[in-house]
């Protein structure tokens, strides 16, 4: 068996390839953490900015609701714009000249006096500042409403508690690991599915189509190594690259999360629990067969291609095919069951989510492992058979 000799050589070869190193180490180690850090930083900055922003408001009908108007005037970080053409207010908001307009009808006082509802119209731009303008305006209105209701209850000699028929005590039995796992766990499979695929791509293309292009395929085919040895040696290198890339990506993410200053201690604690040896090994159990599946498919397509360029154009669309089930796995309501456990990639996504949440069903997990290992075995068998076909390796 020459598999080990071929594996050692191919591994040395790809580790000297700058593109592979970029895809395998640099990107996953930096890209995922950088992406998360930048996105959350920008989001937090935007929220802070929106909250601290001085809102420019216009009030129509202040003579009917002087108290409510006063509430706005005396609120912090609010500038009242006194005179505006009423028929142009929507343009002013659209053009961000003002942030919102509050319009009170002339029946405001009459309605309130009769213990009825007074209508108030709030014009705002929902796409702006993550809805914070609307929230801040409505908060002031709500406070005035609460004051009016209190007054009404006092006038009627009723206790304010009469407004509530139930007192709901919500007892959430899910652990914080489960909550965080369900919310963020879908992200984890994304990382190792996408990065695993990316990590397998360049070595896969290089060891198949690249070998054809360089003319080295004949060199190795005329050596005493059997076709099985050659393809398995190459396959194991591609697989190693895929697994390494997945774990480097997860590792990078873990380090980034730890370095992030604004993450509460309890979330950090949950992350530590999630990345326990048991969960880590179980996730690895998912990564290995799914990476084997990717590696065998990429290598088969690469062996089929006449050139590196053709191989790239064949393999690239697979990215979308693979991302698609991974996205479905993150959708709410899609759960791991006896059917989804058999759907490749989707099962990895759902199982990883449940694993992180700590609620994985062992039977379903066994089903996922079974289907993944079966699929991996099938794709490796196909790859070996494919490499033995003269029409494939000497296609041109």
């Amino acid at each position: 068996m020459k598999i080990w000799i071929i594996f050692k050589k191919e591994l040395k070869d790809i580790l000297r390839d700058r593109r592979t190193i970029m895809m395998m180490i640099v990107f996953p180690l930096l890209l995922a953490p950088a992406l998360i850090t930048v996105v959350s930083k920008v989001q937090m900055m935007q929220m802070k900015k929106a909250q601290e922003k001085k809102l420019k408001l216009h009030f129509i009908g202040k003579e009917y609701a002087p108290n409510l108007y006063q509430d706005f005037v005396s609120s912090e970080r609010i500038i009242m714009i006194p005179y505006l053409q009423k028929d142009s207010i929507q343009h002013y908001i659209q053009d961000e000249f003002i942030d919102a307009v509050i319009e009170v009808s002339s029946h405001y006082n009459l309605a309130l006096g009769q213990n009825k509802k007074a209508s108030i119209k709030v014009y705002f731009k929902g796409s702006d500042s993550m809805g914070i303008t609307k929230k801040r305006v409505e908060q002031i209105i709500k406070e005035r409403e609460r004051f009016i209701i209190n007054e009404r209850m006092a006038r009627l000699h009723l206790d304010i508690d009469i407004m509530d028929a139930f007192e709901i005590d919500r007892v959430d039995i899910s652990s914080s690991q489960e909550k965080i796992g369900k919310a963020a766990g879908g992200f984890l499979p994304y990382i190792f599915i996408i990065f695993g695929f990316m990590g397998a791509m360049y070595p896969g293309l290089d060891l198949g189509a690249g070998e054809k292009e360089r003319g080295t395929l004949e060199t190795i085919l005329s050596s005493p190594a059997s076709r099985f040895d050659i393809v398995m040696g190459k396959f194991l290198v591609v697989l190693s690259a895929a697994i390494a890339t997945s774990f480097i990506a997860i590792g990078g993410l873990y380090l980034a999360v730890q370095q992030f200053p604004d993450i509460p201690v309890e979330i950090l604690q949950v992350i530590q629990d999630v990345l326990s040896l048991k969960v880590f090994l179980m996730i690895m159990g998912l990564v290995i067969p799914v990476s084997a599946f990717f590696s065998a498919i990429i290598l088969s397509l690469s062996i089929y291609a006449k050139s590196f360029k053709e191989a790239q154009s064949i393999v690239a669309p697979l990215n979308i095919i693979i991302i698609f089930p991974a996205i479905i796995g993150t959708l709410p309501g899609i759960e791991l069951n006896h059917t989804t456990a058999l759907i490749p990639v989707l099962n990895v996504s759902l199982a990883a989510k449940d694993l992180v949440a700590g609620i994985i069903d062992p039977i379903l997990m066994a089903e996922v492992y079974g289907s993944l290992f079966f699929l991996a075995g099938l794709s490796i068998w196909f790859c070996v058979k494919w490499f033995n076909r003269e029409e494939t390796i000497f296609r041109n």
Binding site: I5, T216, E218, T219, S222, S223, E390
Partner: protein, 256 residues
């Protein structure tokens, strides 16, 4: 020793192939690249297979090197059948093409070691053989430099070293000088001659008649997958009716 008997090779044609090959292939399901050829190459002799591009030379050599399986007929290399004992055959052969066929990210040292390991050479024998080859080819200065950074001549030397590191009994050269400059071509031709001097069986394909005249003892003319001549160079010369090798070649393949 290479014995080729009634060798044929057919390739299935796909729709794409039929489109590319033109109207005359529209109804054909397969194409015969090599058609019922027989010849033998003996140790200590250089056998030249000459023919234009697409004549069937590479297909024949690939079948001898066990990369392709014959559709009909048989090939025996040092007494081993290329289909049933393909691994034994590959242990006996060295295969070289015009492309240097090297791994750019390895060094000549690593490249040669890789091939030696694939041939199952023992370490001390490998070190000894590598030393003598590197001395002979004057490779020591660049033995640990990445192949990508070597000149064409250095690459060709590395390619020679990796082909003969296991001291094969049979050498197969598939258009080894195509695309090479005069100096490098000469080095290859010298290697072919030295293989003969060492008593190896040499099968050599080319489309240049001049090269046949330089080194071959025997030759076979192949055209459209069929043999048009098979005999010694001396007989070929005696039978020549045209002034040059090239003219004779064209006369034979067009006149038949």
């Amino acid at each position: 020793m290479i014995e080729i008997k009634s060798l044929s090779k057919e390739f299935k044609l796909t729709k794409q192939h039929r489109r590319e090959l033109g109207e005359s292939f529209t109804d054909k399901k397969s194409i015969r690249a090599v058609n019922d050829i027989s010849f033998s190459c003996k140790p200590g002799q250089i056998f030249g297979l000459i023919g234009p591009n697409g004549a069937g030379k590479t297909t024949t050599l690939r079948m001898v090197a066990t990369m392709l399986k014959p559709t009909h007929g048989s090939i025996s290399v040092c007494g081993h059948d290329t289909v049933h004992a393909n691994q034994q055959v590959r242990k006996k052969i060295g295969f070289m093409t015009g492309q240097t066929a090297l791994y750019d990210r390895l060094t000549p040292n690593e490249m040669v070691q890789y091939m030696a390991e694939l041939h199952g050479m023992k370490k001390d024998l490998f070190f000894q053989r590598r030393q003598s080859l590197f001395d002979l080819l004057d490779m020591h200065d660049f033995a640990d430099r990445r192949i990508a950074r070597l000149s064409t001549g250095m690459k060709q030397k590395t390619s020679i070293a990796r082909t003969i590191i296991h001291d094969p009994e049979v050498m197969i050269f598939d258009e080894p000088t195509s695309g090479l400059d005069v100096m490098t071509s000469r080095a290859i031709m010298n290697l072919i001659r030295s293989c003969k001097d060492d008593g190896k069986t040499v099968l050599f394909s080319t489309h240049r008649m001049g090269e046949i005249n330089q080194v071959c003892d025997h030759l076979a003319i192949i055209y459209n997958g069929e043999l048009y001549f098979n005999g010694s160079l001396n007989v070929f010369k005696e039978e020549m009716t045209q002034p040059t090798f090239e003219d004779e070649f064209i006369f034979r393949v067009e006149g038949k």
